[in-house]
Symmetry: C2
Amino acid sequence: MIRLSRMADYGVVVMTHMAWRRHENQTAHQVAAGTGLPEATAGKLLKVFARSGILTSHRGAHGGYELTRTPEDISVAEIVEAVEGPIALTLCVDEHPGHCGVEALCPMRGGWNRINAALREAFEGLSLAAMAFPAPPEFAGPGGRPAVGL
Amino acid sequence: MIRLSRMADYGVVVMTHMAWRRHENQTAHQVAAGTGLPEATAGKLLKVFARSGILTSHRGAHGGYELTRTPEDISVAEIVEAVEGPIALTLCVDEHPGHCGVEALCPMRGGWNRINAALREAFEGLSLAAMAFPAPPEFAGPGGRPAVGL
DNA sequence: CAAAACAGAACCGATTTGGTTCTATTTTGC
DNA sequence: GCAAAATAGAACCAAATCGGTTCTGTTTTG
């Protein structure tokens, strides 16, 4: 099983929370409470996102965070990249190009690159909005989108 | 950076070697020599592949391994799954479904599933042959495919 | 029966990761 | 202007994971 780090997963959770509370300034404390994450951890992620530009931070008393753009305009790729670094799937691909550790068998690069491209595309094609406000199942009846967890 | 475990990477290297030496019975020792991997490690991987069915093993003196199918009929997905388990990208997706640790916010599942599907497709659509014998660059001139490392 | 090979489990050390804590720095309100 | 509330950012520690090795057993050949 290829694992996305738990931090990246939590990152999406945090950003989902921010999307739900759009335009309400959220402190790290509030986010932690809302998501169930430990406060220090939520804070760490929020800082990372502020740094990467997808959240805007206000410091000082009554400070907090807010989405910089609309959830439609933020991709899951950005979220994941903020906490994990570039989305790619092998050593080969971004280590000092030239010596592949084991052998000179990097014709395989082409193959890996195809996979990496597919993966990156998938991440880029998925917006925060799609995560936070999933389309209602086809015949959900009146009321539309399914009740969300909390 | 999302990392494919090094073992999975080595696994592809080993299988590539097997594709190159198709029909020649290969001992763990030979594979290790050919790939540059430590013998114990190569052996471990070969066992895993034999177990999963993409290699056939012969025990006893003059034993060894051989591809069960043609390189065209073995997907990179099979190789990676043999060493890593199912190809999927989150906790959420295959842990005891129901409690998501943090909160009941698994409407996000839909999003992750899309990404997982894309990833799995990419892996399944890539054959061992494509890895081991990459298509020659468009105008490689006569002689065709580029000389392979070793 | 001995040697050559695979099968499979157990094991250890090092790296990575999750998560916390501590020290600034900035802003607000009294 | 000072205290309180918040973020910024680095440093740090414990625990889980992973890469790799070793050991014991089994099968086959000559």
